[in-house]
Symmetry: C2
Subunit: 459 residues, 2 copies
């Protein structure tokens, strides 16, 4: 890794090596996990390079290839599992300058990958359109980071998550080779680079479907308990046009949603929705008919002086953030359980784990069906107990855990190596210089998942 | 401490003893400090009681007196030093229900102590008035918590901090005695209960001066270095009508002010201001005349689609929050240095501590003079180093540190026992049941400050 030679080769680029910049641009929201916080605290890049256009991306990648310098791409650094952290140092490629809308059609938009997602949405709204899917971090996160590192978010109840092939049209990717190539991925090829943590190239451009702008209203509903809340959620999700549908067990909202607290009641489960304005009367009728449920907040009738944040900033992974801000002893999990055994699973979890697990679900459309994804808060005690908890959840319940306390693709969201991604990496990054350490299969092809065993730091 | 009897006595009140509620309502932003985070993590109250009016406060205090149960008052729990954490358990008295404006005059407002500060400001604005002083947490913090636990904030550049006798008109206080008394404190007596962490009674009502509503515009300015930024700040602070005046050394804004980053430049020091709209032309002229300075953001000319948070949410103790969110290895200090030796002190600090200390100042009016208060970010390594750093700052520089890593009144903001507060406590809380552990003089009258020595946990 000859950094001096690299710098000489890259003369004229925006290169930063101030120690505090290196440190800040080498971290993301890894500290959500007490385990990753301990493991990754010392990670620092050697250089932060912010390319101004695709030609500069190509220059950086070919120079880094020549000098064998690892490259980790960074959008806004809001990822949660050290996704954007340069485990082996080298260059952090910061996409901050590569922002802006390139073209807007009736049903699609082309943007540079470093564009902040909310800027895309605002641009679309001025043109009567809206984005299909965005993470709750939309105010700061980039579209490239969302596609490479995210999974789902607001809009999923209507369109499903990022893995739904309908939600991304095209990715433009620069490869990490002696002479980098520029590939335009469409159709099934998109998933070679989507949710790949940038291990097989740098996205420079993204084409997304867009839809006519909806008129969405934030609504909060309370229900007597979490099972009822989820039953009501499924009914509403199937009947009404929604952009977001989230459920929270008591006492999550009353404890952690400071500014919405007075709408959350005491000891009540809560639903948070973004509803089409036209559907409000139907929503009202259904909630009124539901025993014990009540609408406690409607943005269209709210006192503007309350100046509440958007409701999606309570949901998705913002729930965890809200909780940690109030109690740093909280962390979280991500898991799936079958919708048809939802009630019994919730009851069994509450019985088994009590307050150690505080449930929270986000609803998505999975093959057309309204389905819950659980993102429970966990009262952290020790790392061993957290590992044990994950083991118990998978062994004793019909649950799959996507472990957010791991830094690799396989141990986190995927649960297995995506062979097409691995194969693609062989072609696009033959020296394994892109975000090294994040794809187990690259270094240890015969690895198999074993709960409780942490790949990166035990092998 | 007979809690069963206490509960019986207080039948009909809003009492909560769900474990997760007890835990959440027993913490504040103590975790800003790695030292307090370690020390206070286990603290939990036995009951959370939320009185609905002053009569219920009196009932709680007399019952707790009878049963010898400690009482710690809680506003919104945004204090930073474990101020609102019940070190000896007992009751957390949560002021959430005691909110609302009671009376509004031309030049004053009377509010219940649990009112969220921004709600007061919004109410005032609808009536052509504004509040004099608010913390950057105004969206969630209560006026009672601000007066009992806070010190200064937005407005200080015009009106000085909370200790300025002109900024509070009257406090209404319930005492902790066999038969609680209700006292209305005015004039000098106010400071017996202001910034006393609630150790000598429960504030139920507050009367504050109000002023005609100003028309304030957020402005960001960059300057070549931190010394220049502060020289410019003093010039502007003396010449123009401002509501806020803050300065940040590079690379604080570019690293931590995510959504303002593009206005913060690279390697530039930054000033953040709230300026009277009428003063904008004068501001522009002065900044243009200043070598190397530039206005990079004006809210009145901003693209509304950017939807930036209020600039004060980058300043005061929000600066620390922004930094910790990006790098949990950051903590902070609070200190004063003489304005007339500012340039040499800044230069010496940068030379001596480099990136370990990242400077940030807030400007206040101190006896009429525009004066800096430093709230530097600190790159935390070990507790010993943090203690040593404080010692070095006080020994080798013309600096006084107000240690935010201590839980007591004396070791934090005051540096000494306020004898009038102590004397007042003898009258209002003879058994020492109010927020016990926060006033050293109560338990250890002959204590003297000794940097590096932590009272609570070493004696
Ligand atoms: C409070 C909070 C809430 C969140 N809510 C959601 C949510 O609702 N839904 C969700 O899916 N996620 C969520 N996340 C996770 C994260 O915010 C999203 O994944 C976000 O979209 C990441 O964008 P970013 O620009 O910050 O990416 P980064 O964190 O900068 O990067 C993420 C990954 O993508 C790679 N990458 C970035 N840009 C490129 C590029 N141009 N080419 C190739 N690789 C690239 C990085 O190397 C890294 O591996 C949340 C996180 C937080 C802290
Ligand atoms: C991000 C951030 C930014 C901040 N910015 C500022 C700032 O700009 N200026 C500033 O001064 N502080 C600031 N603080 C500290 C804190 O927000 C303020 O002091 C705030 O006003 C506290 O209000 P609260 O309602 O949250 O009080 P709490 O934290 O609930 O209580 C604070 C103290 O007051 C006591 N108390 C509360 N209510 C009463 C009552 N009715 N009677 C008697 N005692 C009572 C409590 O026992 C406790 O000791 C900041 C903190 C954070 C986390």
């Amino acid at each position: 890794m000859d950094l001096t030679a690299l710098k000489t080769d890259l003369d004229g680029l925006d290169i930063d090596d101030r120690p505090s910049v290196l440190r800040a641009k080498s971290r993301d929201f890894y500290w959500y996990s007490p385990i990753l916080k301990r493991q990754l605290d010392g990670i620092t890049a050697d250089l932060v390079i912010s390319p101004r256009d695709e030609a500069e991306v190509i220059r950086v990648l070919s120079a880094c290839y020549r000098h064998r310098v690892p490259v980790t791409v960074r959008g806004a650094g809001t990822g949660n599992y050290g996704q954007a952290m340069p485990l082996q140092g080298g260059v952090v490629l910061h996409m901050q300058h590569m922002a802006g809308v390139i073209a807007l059609g009736d049903d699609h938009v082309v943007v540079r990958s470093g564009t902040v997602i909310d800027h895309i949405e605002q641009h679309l709204r001025r043109n009567g359109r809206e984005i299909r899917l965005f993470p709750s971090t939309t105010a700061t996160a980039t579209i490239g980071g969302f596609i490479a590192g995210g999974s789902s978010g607001v809009g999923a109840i209507r369109w499903g998550g990022l893995r739904n092939p309908a939600n991304i049209r095209r990715l433009r990717l620069v490869t990490m080779e002696e002479t980098p190539r520029v590939l335009d991925l469409t159709g099934h090829d998109i998933h070679k680079a989507a949710h790949a943590y940038g291990v097989n190239g740098v996205m420079t451009e993204v084409e997304l479907p867009v839809d006519p702008a909806g008129d969405w209203v934030d609504v909060m509903i309370t229900a007597p308990d979490f099972i009822a809340a989820n039953q009501l959620a499924i009914e509403l999700g199937e009947a009404l046009l929604l952009r977001m549908l989230s459920t929270f067990a008591a006492p999550v909202p009353e404890l952690y949603f400071q500014r919405y607290r007075r709408h959350a009641g005491t000891g009540r489960a809560v639903l948070a929705l973004m509803v089409a304005r036209d559907a409000l009367p139907a929503l009202e009728a259904r909630v009124t008919a539901w025993p014990g449920a009540a609408i406690t907040y409607r943005a269209d009738r709210a006192d503007p002086a309350e100046r509440l944040p958007a409701l999606y900033e309570m949901a998705w992974n913002h729930t965890t953030l809200r909780a940690i801000r109030i109690d740093p002893g909280v962390t979280y999990l991500q898991m799936m359980f079958p919708r048809d055994r939802m009630a019994e699973t919730i009851a069994a979890l509450e019985l088994r784990f009590g307050n150690e697990l505080m449930l929270h679900c986000e609803y998505t459309r999975f093959n057309g069906v309204v389905s819950p994804v659980a993102m429970p808060l966990v009262r952290f005690t020790t790392e061993n107990r957290l590992e044990e908890l994950i083991q118990l959840l998978e062994a004793e319940f019909p649950i799959t855990v996507f472990n957010p306390h791991r830094v690799t693709l396989e141990e986190g969201g995927m649960k297995r190596t995506d062979l097409s991604q691995l194969d693609f990496k062989r072609q696009t990054d033959p020296l394994g210089l892109m975000n090294p350490g994040k794809m187990i299969a690259w270094t240890t092809p015969d690895w198999t998942p074993e709960t409780g065993k942490n790949f990166l730091f035990t092998e």
